[in-house]
């Protein structure tokens, strides 16, 4: 019983990580049709921002475990990754709209460039971020059911990101313009919306969300120049299964893949579990090529 309860939690936790890494991609790939292979590198930028901030804070306060630093790192990671995303959009991607396959090659190159840049700045070996004390705790529900605080925190962070994204997209003028452009570019443009501005903004927002994911992932995973590559494939699978341009679909897909993967992995092995999930997704896409949620025809 306790095993199942803890597996349920593990599934939820995996879903939250998948969603966190996929949310930004749901904007750049899902809404803008940019096959953004550099998405993983924006995650990396978030992780290194957290690391750099902690180094600076440790230098001045002498206390690496300051919980404040980590809380400050979340918006800082967002800003750094969003700025990098903005630069990439205005310098590379804006020339490639309507040529999705070209964006694949261009962003792949951007990704390699960013990886080598990180290697030059921070060195090739992994670095470490010390988690604040309040995140290192374990919440024990029963004697056999222990929930790591970090996992609970990440689930909370995902909910916060979703909430903010909802408010932005549905309750702000900027968000309304963004939805307008994504739904009907020509019409929005003729009504006076600057589609160029909306494009750069949306891409920067997606990159910023990747940065937040990177910040959170420093708690549980490795921090190195190639860290983005560990998450990029899963992020694409989640967005594709969810259906392009469908944030609710992305949420559903992350939940399904996280849960199913955890169950399969527990029943078989990590490798077989992953293969089964991929096979399942491919079969599903054969049946419903548009994914879980289909954009309504216009």
């Amino acid at each position: 019983m306790e095993v199942w309860a803890s597996q349920l939690f593990n599934g939820l936790s995996l879903s939250s990580i998948l969603l966190l890494t996929a949310l930004g991609l749901a904007l750049s790939f899902g809404l803008m049709n940019v096959i953004n292979l550099a998405h993983g590198e924006f995650i990396m930028i978030g992780a290194y921002t957290t690391y750099a901030l902690q180094q600076v804070a440790t230098h001045y306060t002498g206390d690496p475990q300051s919980g404040i630093t980590f809380l400050v790192a979340i918006p800082a990671s967002f800003i750094m990754a969003a700025a990098a995303g903005y630069l990439v959009e205005v310098s590379v991607i804006r020339f490639l709209y309507r040529r999705p396959l070209d964006t694949l090659l261009a962003t792949w190159g951007v990704g390699l460039f960013l990886q080598q840049l990180a290697r030059s700045i921070f060195g090739a070996p992994n670095v470490q971020v010390v988690a604040p004390d309040w995140l290192s705790a374990t919440v024990s529900v029963t004697s056999g059911l222990l929930l790591p605080m970090k996992r609970i925190f990440i689930i909370g962070l995902v909910l916060a990101c979703l909430g903010s994204l909802y408010l932005y997209m549905y309750r702000s003028n900027e968000g309304r313009r963004m939805r307008g452009v994504m739904q009907n570019r020509e019409m929005a443009s003729s009504l006076g919306v600057s589609t160029r501005r909306v494009d750069s903004f949306t891409f920067a927002l997606g990159s910023g969300l990747a940065g937040v994911a990177g910040c959170a992932l420093t708690l549980i995973g490795p921090i190195g120049p190639s860290l983005g590559t560990f998450y990029i494939v899963d992020a694409f699978i989640v967005v594709i299964l969810g259906g392009l341009g469908q944030i609710p679909g992305t949420i559903m897909a992350a939940l399904i893949i996280g849960m199913v993967n955890t169950v399969f992995e527990f029943g078989t092995t990590a490798v077989v579990g992953k293969v089964l999930v991929f096979a399942m997704v491919i079969l599903f896409l054969q049946w419903k090529p548009a994914g879980l949620m289909r954009a309504r025809g216009r």
Binding site: N10, L112, P125, N126, Q128, S136, S226, A270, L285, P289
Partner: protein, 438 residues
């Protein structure tokens, strides 16, 4: 172009793209599931990095005659995490040798190539070093996949390779000297040590490729001979970062030791998440064979404190040679740099080659190989001797416990150097392994 048409065209394009991407994902997963790639996953990411071919000329330019030697490690891509430091140690040894007058009075001229974490690149660069640069010897490689890619090149061109990393054994090449441990100098004695400590319930956890699978095959046979059986055996893809389910499985199997052959970045995720799950080294110790001082820096010492590791050398190993080596390494590369087993093996490999060349009186491959038999060197980790037949080296086995500051305290050693036995011929329970390897 009308809008509906555009969106339809985009729609069909993206749906094809989706299938392409999903297919790619499956291929990636399957590729990781099978044997070959021997490094943290997603190697292709690294492959396109510029292969910087730097030539560092030796200081003594007026000397008409120099000896060219090659260094071939991944300086870019995913494996540069580990290989850069070995490359540094080999350069240090070469600098020291040049400063002390070179080999047979000739300065060494280094040709550095970048394997870029890509196995075909290793083969190609090895061919370039041997055929174009005509180097006398190459120091290089890390993953078994890179070694296996270079092996036919060295055999076809009759070159000489010094390979500095512990590996899964079951191999001998007339053109390769193995300065890292083979299984009977690391894994087999580690299991023996654990059995003597009264451990009976082994859980085997590894990355899914040739080294962990071969190691666990050997461990299973060894346990069988002791009348035991592993309580669990689990492999995760290279680059796997989600260990909560694996940890649940370990908890359910209730082992008293986890034998960890995970490689690369997965170790960081595993140890962080093990600690988050409230499992300390006291509750459940692990022993790792691919986690050294360099990796501990990235894992975070507090996440792995009191866990065990098995190697032939630690930075704390107490020999006069090591004190000198650590000091020289940190003086050249920075106070915060650490040394570890493969770094040390890369370093003394250069000296072993020098000794063999001087004994042979030439850099001719056949003469050097003949002269290398039985050559000894006082390495930082203790005395090492090249084996007469299999070209591995005998070295002392050490088991250590990770300290809070990331250094390792030795808690056991084999007392004397252990002679290399790559096919485990001297172990009765290992009969049949030799056939398996062919």
């Amino acid at each position: 172009m009308s809008v509906p048409y555009l969106s339809k065209a985009l729609g069909s394009l993206t749906s094809n793209t989706l299938k392409l991407l999903a297919g790619l994902g499956l291929i990636l997963a399957v590729a990781c599931g099978s044997e070959a790639p021997a490094a943290p996953a997603s190697a292709p990411q690294g492959s396109a990095a510029p292969a910087a071919a730097a030539v560092e000329s030796a200081p003594a330019a007026e000397e008409p005659e120099t000896i060219k030697v090659g260094i071939l490690h991944s300086l870019s891509g995913t494996m540069s995490i580990s290989e850069t430091a070995v490359h540094d140690a080999e350069l240090l040894a070469i600098d020291e040798i040049n400063a002390a007058g070179g080999v047979m009075g000739k300065q060494l001229e280094v040709v550095i190539e970048d394997g870029a974490s890509d196995w075909p690149t290793f083969a190609e660069k090895a061919r370039k070093l041997l055929q174009e640069d005509q180097v006398a010897v190459v120091f290089g490689g890390w993953t078994s996949a890179s070694r296996k890619a270079m092996l036919p090149v060295f055999e076809a061109n009759d070159g000489l390779l010094f390979y500095p990393v512990q590996y899964e054994g079951l191999e001998t090449s007339p053109n390769i000297f193995y300065t890292g441990a083979t299984t009977n100098q690391q894994i087999v004695p580690a299991v023996e040590y654990l059995l003597n400590e009264g451990k009976t319930k082994f859980y085997l956890l590894g990355s899914d490729y040739v080294f962990p699978r071969t190691s666990n095959l050997i461990i299973n046979k060894q346990l069988e001979a002791a009348g035991l059986e592993a309580v669990g055996e689990e492999y995760t893809p290279l680059g796997h970062t989600e260990y909560s389910t694996v940890i649940s499985k370990i908890r359910a199997a209730d082992p008293d030791i986890v034998f960890n052959t995970l490689n690369g970045d997965s170790n960081v995720a595993f140890f962080k998440q093990l600690r988050d799950a409230g499992i300390s080294a006291e509750d459940l110790p692990t022993i790792s064979v691919s986690v050294a001082e360099e990796e501990i820096t990235g894992i975070g010492a507090d996440n792995i404190t009191d866990h065990l590791v098995a190697w032939n050398y630690f930075q704390t190993t107490d020999t006069p040679e090591n004190a000198k080596f650590v000091q020289a390494f940190q003086a050249k590369y920075g106070e915060n740099r650490v040394t570890d087993d493969p770094i040390e093996a890369g370093y003394f490999g250069v000296y072993l080659w020098k000794a063999a060349v001087e004994k042979a009186g030439s850099t001719d491959v056949a003469a050097v190989k003949e002269a290398a038999k039985g050559i000894t060197f006082a390495a930082p980790g203790g005395m090492v001797t090249i084996h007469n037949e299999n070209q591995h080296v005998s070295k002392t086995v050490r088991i250590g416990k990770v300290r809070g500051d990331g250094q390792i305290d030795e808690i056991w050693n084999s007392g004397a150097p252990v002679s290399p036995d790559p096919y485990l011929d001297s172990y009765e329970w290992a009969s049949g392994l030799r056939e398996l390897a062919q």
